[in-house]
């Protein structure tokens, strides 16, 4: 060791590399943590504060929570920055497939009021498929044999599909009515 001090040998190079690796790593880690100090979040590694995610997803319910987590994780849990980013129209980046958020949003993240079920298209299948006529006429008819489902002709195929749909609904309806009559007696 003492005599070839000036020359660089392989062990010392290795040591240098390892040491500098740790120094750089520590430096960046510290940097990342200091960035978060402004907000209430504390990020250790990949952990995202579920409360922050929920806060943002309440503001922007149309965004995927995964995107929000990814953005929060990258900016160190800075809610304001993420909000700003969304509002300026830049949108959130799609996280890489490998991104696995460590914290799940508690499933009980209920919105302030429970969403009333939308009744906008609360029509039944009979009205939807215009089966009112068939309900009356076919109430006593037994379903025919299983129709073959395929044809070489486009219109014929469409008709067959329609028929199978109608048959399925009407058969279910018939069965339900029979069951109810059976129950009533």
């Amino acid at each position: 060791m003492p005599d070839d001090e000036p020359s660089l040998n392989i062990p010392s190079l290795l040591t240098l590399a390892v040491v500098s690796f740790f120094v750089i790593r520590w430096f960046f880690k510290r940097d990342g943590e200091s960035g978060t100090s402004g907000s209430r979040g504390r990020t250790r590694g990949n952990i995202v504060d579920p409360a922050q995610v929920e806060q943002i997803s309440q503001m922007f319910p149309q965004l995927s929570t995964r995107d929000i987590m990814w953005d929060l994780q990258r900016n160190g849990g800075n809610v304001a920055a993420t909000t700003e980013r969304i509002l300026t129209g830049r949108g959130l980046d799609t996280p890489p497939p490998s991104f696995q958020p460590l914290v799940a949003i508690p499933p009980t993240g209920v919105p302030a009021q429970p969403a009333p079920a939308t009744k906008s298209d609360g029509q039944d299948l009979i009205t939807r498929y215009n089966l009112a006529g068939k309900v009356v006429e076919g109430s006593e008819a037994e379903p025919a044999g299983k129709p073959s489902g395929w044809s070489q002709n486009k219109e014929e195929r469409q008709r067959l599909l329609q028929k199978r749909r109608d048959d399925m609904i009407l058969a279910a309806r018939r069965k339900m009515m029979q069951k109810e009559q059976g129950g009533a007696q």
Binding site: Q62, T83, L87, G89, P97, Q113, A115, S120, N153
Partner: protein, 387 residues
């Protein structure tokens, strides 16, 4: 699509006595496109797909669709055995299917079945022959017409589709600019035919050879000629790490490749990936297409998925998830929003805050979408307000 458009499928066998052929056929089909394997390749996890299908899957996800183990494009290897199976099966399929459905409908008419049986396997050869001298009339179509005239109803369409496939094949073979000798079926240059005819003795080797080629086993005969005609097999395109390339470099690269280089960066990346998949899959082909054909395929991609496809690409798509029911949401929270607006107005009168101007477009598709939000940065709980 044509009114009578149909595709052969493994379920074609279910209506025949040969139901057990359905699983055989579906195992000869690619799980991704559900078509017969086209240039089958095997992954490092030993699953077989069409070359193009698996390349597309790997370039989107990097995983085997079947077992989801990670794989790389470079590890794909040709699966010749499967290719030969597929070729042999597709060659035999129309005649077997016809025979099978004939058996369903007329078990008694043994004469026709015998006829069909003996004639079908060689039909392709005969059609080649017809293409040249037009003398023979005993084509596959002829057989079917006769069968039908005897009162047998056959499912015409699946067989017809196969014929189209065959014709495509045939066109390919004819594409090499060679013509077959009308006597011995050997393929040669147009000018050479007459000289050859003087010496041709119509030996039995000729038809046998062409039959083998028609069954697509080893590439003897016509296919060999094509291969010789193309002495330089195309070189594979390497994958690019797009993040290392500047936009101008990428644009130039596309230009060098001879493919369109317009559009934003993301589109160029997707176009390059598609081109790379098309190109490298073509390298796996025993009968590679020329660049013009590949460019046409790229055009199809451009029209349906690339820059010419009509996708709603406004800014809302980056902000709004597609399946989000904005109308339902704004309807159900209407009262809440109004309440919050009132609260916010009160508060904002009390204090002046710096606000971030919203960049949400005014001409957004959903005028009723969730109200645009202004937020006060320094306040931990954001304040909702409508603009």
């Amino acid at each position: 699509m044509e009114p009578t458009f149909d595709l052969p499928d493994s379920t074609d066998w279910l209506a025949t006595p040969l139901k057990l052929l359905a699983p055989l056929e579906s195992s000869l089909r690619c799980q991704v496109c559900k078509d017969f394997f086209d240039n089958p390749v095997i992954t490092s996890c030993s699953h077989t797909f069409c070359s193009l299908c698996i390349r597309r899957c790997l370039s989107t996800e990097g995983k085997c669709p079947t077992c989801r183990s990670s794989d790389q494009e470079l590890k794909l290897r040709r699966n010749w055995a499967v290719q030969e199976l597929v070729e042999a099966f597709t060659n035999a399929r129309p005649s077997v299917l016809e025979l099978a459905s004939g058996a369903t409908n007329s078990a008694g008419d043994a004469e026709v079945m015998g006829e069909v049986n003996t004639e079908q396997p060689a039909s392709k050869k005969r059609r080649l022959e017809d293409g040249v001298n037009g003398a023979e009339t005993r084509t596959e179509e002829g057989v079917r017409t006769r069968s039908q005239s005897r009162g047998i109803t056959l499912p015409v369409q699946p067989a017809a589709i196969e014929i189209i496939d065959d014709i495509e094949d045939e066109e390919y073979i004819l594409d090499d600019g060679l013509v077959p000798c009308p006597i011995c079926q050997r393929r040669m240059k147009n000018e050479a035919v007459f000289r050859h005819l003087d010496t041709c003795n119509g030996d039995q080797n000729g038809p046998a050879e062409s039959k083998q080629a028609a069954f697509g086993s080893l590439s003897t005969g016509p296919r060999k000629a094509t291969r010789d005609a193309n002495p330089n097999p195309p070189e594979r395109l390497p994958a690019i790490n797009y993040s290392l390339l500047k936009e101008t470099v990428l644009r130039k690269k596309l230009k060098d490749l001879g493919i369109p280089n317009w559009g934003p960066r993301a589109l160029m990346q997707r176009r390059h990936t598609e081109w790379m998949n098309l190109w490298n899959a073509n390298c796996d082909s025993r009968t590679p297409k020329n660049k013009g054909q590949l460019l046409r395929e790229l055009d199809v991609w451009e029209d349906t998925q690339g820059g010419k496809s009509s996708t709603p690409t406004d800014t809302t798509s980056t902000v709004m998830r597609k399946d989000f029911d904005s109308v339902g949401w704004s309807a159900s929270y209407d009262t809440d929003f109004k309440q919050l607006i009132v609260n916010a107005r009160k508060k904002s009168e009390a204090a002046v805050r710096s606000t971030i101007p919203s960049a949400l477009p005014a001409d957004s598709d959903e005028p009723q979408s969730a109200p645009i939000v202004e937020t006060a940065v320094e306040v931990p709980t954001p304040i909702y307000a409508i603009i």
